[in-house]
Symmetry: none
Subunit: 211 residues, 4 copies
Amino acid sequence: MTIEKRRQREIEEMKELILSAASSIISDEGLDGLSIRKIAKKIEYSPSIIYHYFNDKEEILNNVMQRGYKKIVSAVSSKELAGTSPEERLVKMTKNYIMAALKVPDEFIAAQLSKSEEALKHTSSLFKGASKVKPALYSLYQCLQDIYKNTHMDEDSIELTAQVIAVSTLGLIIKIMVEKDIGEEQRNRLIDFYSEDIVLRIVNGSRSSNK
Amino acid sequence: MTIEKRRQREIEEMKELILSAASSIISDEGLDGLSIRKIAKKIEYSPSIIYHYFNDKEEILNNVMQRGYKKIVSAVSSKELAGTSPEERLVKMTKNYIMAALKVPDEFIAAQLSKSEEALKHTSSLFKGASKVKPALYSLYQCLQDIYKNTHMDEDSIELTAQVIAVSTLGLIIKIMVEKDIGEEQRNRLIDFYSEDIVLRIVNGSRSSNK
Amino acid sequence: MTIEKRRQREIEEMKELILSAASSIISDEGLDGLSIRKIAKKIEYSPSIIYHYFNDKEEILNNVMQRGYKKIVSAVSSKELAGTSPEERLVKMTKNYIMAALKVPDEFIAAQLSKSEEALKHTSSLFKGASKVKPALYSLYQCLQDIYKNTHMDEDSIELTAQVIAVSTLGLIIKIMVEKDIGEEQRNRLIDFYSEDIVLRIVNGSRSSNK
Amino acid sequence: MTIEKRRQREIEEMKELILSAASSIISDEGLDGLSIRKIAKKIEYSPSIIYHYFNDKEEILNNVMQRGYKKIVSAVSSKELAGTSPEERLVKMTKNYIMAALKVPDEFIAAQLSKSEEALKHTSSLFKGASKVKPALYSLYQCLQDIYKNTHMDEDSIELTAQVIAVSTLGLIIKIMVEKDIGEEQRNRLIDFYSEDIVLRIVNGSRSSNK
DNA sequence: TATGAATGAGCGTTCATTCAT
DNA sequence: CATGAATGAACGCTCATTCAT
């Protein structure tokens, strides 16, 4: 049993090794720069051994994207947010999301733009009811519920708002990644303006526009 | 003379053929899936002939992206918008933008996600002053100016707002393209909600939040 | 008749145009740099037209080599040599040969190293009797005959000497071409030393060594 | 251990296989005729496997050239030459050089005609001081020093003479290789005449001509 | 006479993957 | 568990050459 367990653990460690090597290659050379050989060289094993732990390159990619995705999700639903006003939480969450994504830009973009079923299992968020089953979206949804709790805003509208905020933020993230040369100052201006101002306009504006 | 013209037309047709084949490959397999050989196979010509019409792969890519980009720009600054209230124009413009982009999803995504200098020459919009030199962004900027003309909103804030609206809309477009299976009804709900409600919240919300 | 002749002349002119374009390309980019397309571009005609004047690339190459070869031959048997002592003529001839070859290095090497029958028809010089039928070698042979005219040196030995001088000079030329970076001074030292000293040693040394 | 060794040996064998295939292709079609794919076809392996043994085409070329060069150098400085008169040694050395080169014509020509830095590192011999640092040339230089030891011949002149003898011999070798059909008898006549007669004229002739 | 469209072969190279050991 | 040999497909690109017009 214990021997069995150790083996299991070793396998997990090796998978981790492979995945983080893959991550770092993607981060250095972009998605297309990733190759089995490069992973092998980085972990100082032969290319073939990788096939003991993953069926093919795509499986590795899916795992890398999942890891990236999880980092983002945990950033969004971070504990540090508890105990503050919902508006403050919303701003914080948005900023956390943006920052976490910008730390793993290629994995993030790859995941968010992949049309593969595997990826969509994690990233899809526009379907009706998504706010109930998608962890990151759910955090956002709860936040909005708090904000709107004394209004008669219906569930559907809250979900729609959450979804729209999510995709808007994604748009900002993607553009910042693509326009890599805008400079740190302008980047921060945009991020601050978006998360501290625009997002609040979206949630508060509803009181007037959604009469 | 006419023979000269016919030849010219045939060249244009062939270029079109190549470009639309490229578009469709990008749509099916992503930007990296595009290869000269695949284009050749799709148009049922030999790979070498492609080099009669384009200097290299990059030129093809740039052309694909420009095609997409141009359709979008003209959609945004369409004439039909004249003579209505700025808010109405804003809603219309947003919707036009989304619809136009969804009509050429491959070129559009390719253009918007390319980090090549050629592409960025057209698509970059986050830098300071972009609203003055980027046609599509300028249309948006003018619209906001009209809306804010009786307030003391400063130029910089208007530009930031325009930029943020642009990237938000982009986020929605991309997500709708990627999550290709959400169904028409939900897609329309999102688009309508975003362009008729959210965008107005963003511009109107400023009056209260930007004290 | 005259129209026939003019056409003939135009054909020759076009051939010349093609060949000199080829020459210049070889001179700029080496033998491998030569391509039909480049010739076409240089003469501002379409590639296909070249095939009206030459059957294929090889025929062009052969012609280029011949032209180069002829320049060399005429350099060796230049008129300016008349009326001087045979030794002086020998030195002059050798130097002329070297200088002429260095002016068209790539064509010259290509010709001299080609094992094709076409090329060998012009360049072969080692076979018995070559000094009688090869113009350049014959010039050299005559010179040696003059030098040896008061000795009982037999024809065969004179031919051998001529052949050996020819190949030796070739060796020097080739090496100078290959070692392109030895500098002008050293190059001139070698050429002068070889043609003014070594060659004379070869012809004069025979009096003692060939007892 | 032994298994390790066997593997090592197999690698060497495969490298040899590749190199000799390359040699033979160069011999048949010239330096430019060499291609990875042709090597692969000749050894009946896939092209890709070649990259397990060599990094790229250039590495193969360099190896081919070095192989040829090494054989020659060792022939020139063969032990058997010790204990004889310097003139005899000179003649022997010359003949050894010619014979060794004719045994590996392809590699030899490839090496001697290559303008690549790698090749020139080995083959360059015309620069001032070359006789001190180039092994084969140094052997020749020492031989000449012995011959001239009782004269007031200066170092520079000895070096020049050595260099000129080297390039002359090269010229003979190349021409014999190119004119592959002159027949054995004539070939031997030329080689004998050159090494037993001409070379001695060159070194002895200096006494009279270099007054 | 001259063109330009078109082909097919070839280039060096990289890759994911398989398999015997 | 791990290796290294090996393959076959694909990549962007260039070329000599042909052919209908």
